[in-house]
Amino acid sequence: MKTIQYAGLALVAFVASVIFLLRLPPAGAAATVQVQTIPPLTQVFPGQEPVLIRLQALDSQGQPLTNARLQVRLVTPAKTPWLSTDFPIVEGTTLLELKSTAPEGSLEFSQVLPIRGTYRLEVAVAPGNGGTFQPFEQSLTLSLAEAPLKFRNLGILLVVLLLVGFAGGWVIGGEQTLQPGEIAPQPVRLLLSGVIVVAIGVLLYVNITAEFNHGHAGHGHHSHEVVAAKARQTAQGITAELTGETHAIVGQLATQGIQLTEATTGKPATEALVQVRAIDLEHQEPVFAYEASPDTTGRLTWKQQFYDGAPHQLTVRVVPLPEANRQFAPLQVSHEIEVEAVEPPLLTRLISLGYFTIVLVTGLVLGLLGRRRSRPKWVQPG
């Protein structure tokens, strides 16, 4: 009987040990950052609505790291010169750089992901005021598929090119000597060929002129000094001052920031939440949103790239934290950002033109061969 009792106790102890061991983190487990996107990236295509990206720093037990500082860098997918995206200048560049205090170890922002491919999120987590953990860094990836619409449109274009090429080959492959009853006599056909030569000359002139004029204009824009503008507003003893670049260039980061101060004393105001929103004015669509608290100097800065060469509106709303000693009505400051477009590299465009030309010439050759095979055989008179 005692043997059974001992065996029972041993079994209970064994099961308890297993459960305890299973609850322990695996050997070597370290603090991590988890990323979540809303909506999931499988439901998102490039250039559509902003994606909410939520980052959460966790300790080795899987619990949120408190009193942390998070630094985030979002890097766009690598360059794809052989099959360019529609924003080749944006490929392989930094889209965002954020730095914020994270009392609960979390940080979230919304951003339109402009191109297909694998984005890299580099996150650095360090202890803030009262934080007691070892700083660490982690690199995460976000993969975005190309929009099906682009495949469909490319397919339609290639079919059209093949058909046009085939039709051209069929016509050119026909009898070229003047036949009785032909509508267009030879001089007219010569004239038509001459017109084509003129058309080619005119199109060449227009395109080469456009290239040179644009190139010169682009140089002029690049030589401009970056103009910094401030939008300032004071209400109920709080001053919000938006600082940052009002001229940005596609492919490059533009620094933006806001400074909060107490209007009477000039001391930094820190017990507030800053809500940032950027809108593409050409399409009237939001491209970026971010919420964070200012640092101990009352300042919040971030760097962002405007991937579309169109004017943007940056709006920052400042609201008091619910637990703040000083409550005030929300403040709003904004400024417009002129974004300079950068032309895609000439080589990238020529590569794509090469693909399209190959398809056109393939159709042309098929049409030519088809016409020649369909010609009636010469019949010897009996």
Partner: protein
């Protein structure tokens, strides 16, 4: 000394020769494609901006 009728005959034969006709056709096709999809000429770019952004392999800005 080449007579004018001989020169005209040779010009006509060259223009209507198969390689020249194929070259003209391909050249014109390439230029139309360039103007539609790749030109930085503002009227062409602005008119087909949306088409460029929704066609795979076409770079825009």
């Amino acid at each position: 000394m080449v007579s004018s009728s001989s020169l005209w005959q040779r010009t006509r034969q060259f223009t209507l020769s198969l390689p020249v006709q194929l070259g003209l056709f391909t050249g014109l096709g390439m230029l139309i494609l360039w103007t539609m999809y790749f030109s930085t000429y503002p009227p062409a770019h602005n008119t087909l901006h949306q088409v460029r952004h929704t066609t795979l392999g076409v770079a825009c800005h």
